[in-house]
Amino acid sequence: MSKYYLGIDLGSTTSKAVIINEKDEIIGRGITNTRANYKVAADIARDEAIYDARFTLLSNIIKADMESKPEFKKYMEDIRTVFQYQQFKRRMDILEQTLFETASGFQHAEKNAIIENLKNIIETINPQIRQEFILGGLGSKNQFFRDIVSERYNTEVAKSPRELFEPLMLAFDKSITPVENEMVQYNFKELVMEAMRVLEEKYKGLADEQEDGSKEDWYYAELNAVRNNYKNVEMSLRQHIEEVADRDIHIAKMVGTGYGRALLPFPEDCIKSEILCHAFGAHAIFPNTRTVLDIGGQDTKAIQVDSHGLVTSFHMNDRCAAGCGRYLGYIADEFGISLNELGPEAVSAKRETTICSTCTVFAGAEVKELLHNGEERANILAGLHKAIVQRAMSLIARSGGVKNEFTFTGGVARNQAVLKYVKQMVTDAYGELTMNIHTDSIFMGALGGAMFARRNISADLPVTDSKKINSEI
């Protein structure tokens, strides 16, 4: 039986899980937002990683078809999104029920009106979300249950009668947390079958899309291929689904990391510092890495590693959130835009407004002042992004600078504007050198954890000359 290893990175904002095989290859990833109940967050991330692993196994079985036939590739992409929707929908049903129960318990004079409005809101947002998942690729946008629902719920509440605003928001606030903290069990096979039905409906309903030159040729090729041949893919999947769904993904060992690691229900020897895990993960993907910058939700770490991926020194921020992901979250709230919109807008700026405040909260006040003075939003955002990177640069300097290949990890590495300034400032300060950013950046800590789990550390670490490990840098 194949052995698999699990790494869970319980961060302040997101919880990540990675499953690797015996060759250190990632076969499954899972991510969710961290919530009050850490165990649920960790379990959800793990379950997602296991589903993802099953999809990987499925894709491996039909590998030849995936490589040669565009419809297979497209179908597998689509089915993962719809699969996510199915999970979303189950939880949404629970939320719906909880919302009504909460509202029924209100002692409000307008109780009936509240319930009526709730019904309308749910009836409006449910199909919206379904549409966005199935046609709009919402599943690939790194949004979580709470974000997706609350964004749309809030929009609809704003359209409801004003006097119902408070109770409607209260109903949501009271319901979302317990629902989010509830562990929902899904049946992989069942959800895949349902997803296949949804996809059938989708492909049948697809009208001819005119080639207007706005998209690449392959887009139309894939679309047409899947529309005409999805039945073949379906047949193939039906053949293999039993095998994959019933396969025991045997987790031989796991390691938990991240700031919430001590709260994970893992034995003590299965808990590792996130600094070591991030470094080990980043080093595994980019073996020449000597400096790792990780910008996460509530901390930023500059880590120096040796040729084996072992940490030689590190520096991290504390006392202040300016310079990490939460700062961006706060800024997004200030501007009333979503976290995902920050980077693209900042990149579009003509110049960077200088932001003086070194404090997250004060920066909020400074931003308001700048807006009031007519400064453009994009320029302010660019300035804020630059300020974050400046802070990270100071940590890098304190940890010993960048001596060789540089790898940028953490959730914030997905932000294009941060990426732009990191590249710019690292080059300015340390010259041209290889800089690595991977699509899996956010998973590096979990990957490192899984890799530590696979190694029975004492037996498997590379052998080297005593006290000479630094010299190989």
Binding site: S313, M316, R319, G400, I457, L461, V463, D465, I469, S471
Partner: protein, 428 residues
């Protein structure tokens, strides 16, 4: 064994109580009181003039350990001391404002002399300027101590200081105390100081043993207590250190590790050298993070603030004033950065340390300036894992237990990995 351990502690306690008791009765006995600081303290000279010493930093750290510093600091801040002022100062000023009750519950008398014998810390100067306003009758003596910029104490530097002793310090002390300077008396104190220093050097060398019989930082701060509160140059100090040394010898004979607040440390897993003062407000919690991980501190720079004896320097009765001058110039924070690096590197190599930790103190410029560069240099030179944490002396607001624990946990895991690698290394 237990009785022996207690004996040195009892001796120390007696010395502390006696000092504070003498201080509380200074008015009745007519003894003059000299406020001064630990780095470069002229204990022997103070004793030659029969004065009683008061160390404001010691009072501040004692207040912190008794959980009183927060309210003292608040009191000082209420009186316009900024958030950025050294917290030793604020704690001391706050204590003064609240009646100047010392650690034993007895009142600390007002100073007759404010003696500044180390100018490497600019805050010290400002501190006594502040106290001068509260105690207008106190005589202020400020001695300029040249910094060891070129890594040595030259004859002219020594002469420059001796001249200050002769022309400023001694005449003022004679004036305040009404006692004529007695060089022979000073020589006797210096002889005893030298003896104490020999014992201290021996005590801190015992950490070369495996397991180390003592912790040279967390327990070390207690061991340096007697010499740092004015007993250097007395027979009591010599007796204390002799006793302590024999207790430690017994621990070595029995193969015992250091004593912690929760009993004996069972397994010595990591040997560390620590740079920077400890945090006093959460001293026990801070210590616990280390001993829980099986980490013992085999050498620390902080235990050298009251004198660096590792390199052979001792007080010398045959050159009384010259040796006092050298003592002032040779305190740890008066060494230049390369000297400190050399000293710490020597400790790491000789005591066979596995790692180096810097505790950077928000309040303390004397220590914090250059700490990061020193760490980098030591890391490069010795290829040793290094860790950096931040806290404060006596302001509890700047001790974040979870942040410090998180960093230290990562650091210990780093050490663990490194150890495994070294253990797996082929034997050449």
């Amino acid at each position: 064994m237990e009785a022996q351990k207690e004996k040195s502690m009892i001796l120390q306690k007696e010395m502390v109580n006696q000092l504070f008791n003498d201080l509380s009765r200074a008015k009745e006995t007519g003894k003059k009181v000299c406020y001064t600081f630990i780095p470069g303290n002229l204990s022997e000279l103070i004793r030659t003039f029969d004065m009683l010493p008061v160390y404001p930093e010691i009072n501040a750290l004692q207040s912190a350990m008794r959980k009183k510093s927060a309210s003292y600091i608040k009191e000082a801040e209420k009186n316009a001391h900024s958030e950025d002022v050294c917290t030793y100062v604020k704690c001391d000023v706050g204590m003064m404002m609240k009646g100047n009750i010392g650690p034993t519950g007895e009142k600390i008398p007002e100073p007759d002399i404010l003696l500044l014998s180390y100018t490497g810390c600019f805050t010290f100067m400002k501190w006594f300027e502040t106290l001068k306003r509260s105690y207008p009758n106190a005589e202020v003596i400020m001695i300029h101590t040249p910094y060891q910029e070129n890594a040595k104490m030259t004859t002219s530097m020594t002469q420059y200081m001796v001249k200050q002793f002769e022309q400023e310090v001694i005449p003022k002390m004679e004036k305040v105390t009404g006692i004529k300077f007695d060089e022979n008396k000073l020589k006797k104190h210096l002889e005893l100081a030298k003896e104490s220093e020999d014992w201290i050097a021996k005590i801190f060398e015992t950490t070369k043993h495996r397991p180390s019989p003592i912790d040279a930082y967390f327990a070390g701060v207690y061991y340096i207590g007697p010499i740092n509160i004015g007993f250097r140059g007395t027979q009591q100090a010599v007796d204390y250190y002799k006793e302590l040394y024999s207790e430690i010898q017994e621990r070595i004979r029995l193969g015992l590790g250091p004593i912690t607040p929760e009993g004996e440390m069972k397994e010595e897993k990591y040997r560390l050298v620590v740079e920077g003062p400890p945090n006093w407000t959460s001293f026990r919690e801070f210590w616990k993070i280390f001993y829980d991980m099986g980490a013992v501190i085999v050498a620390s720079s902080y235990t050298k603030v009251g004198g660096v004896y590792d390199l052979g320097w001792r007080h010398d009765p045959s050159r009384p004033l010259e040796s006092l001058a050298e003592y002032c110039m040779n305190c740890y924070t008066n060494l230049n950065i390369p000297q400190r690096i050399d000293l710490l590197s020597k400790c790491i190599s000789e005591y066979d340390a596995d790692g180096y930790v810097t505790n950077s103190i928000k309040s303390c410029n004397s220590f914090s300036a250059g700490q990061l560069g020193m760490m980098r240099e030591i890391e490069d030179r010795l290829e040793i894992p290094v860790g950096f944490i931040e806290s404060d002396l006596v302001d509890p607001r700047y001790f974040s237990y979870s942040n410090i624990k998180n960093r230290l946990e990562s650091f210990f895991q780093m050490l663990e990995q490194r150890k495994k690698i070294n253990e797996n290394a082929p034997i050449n």
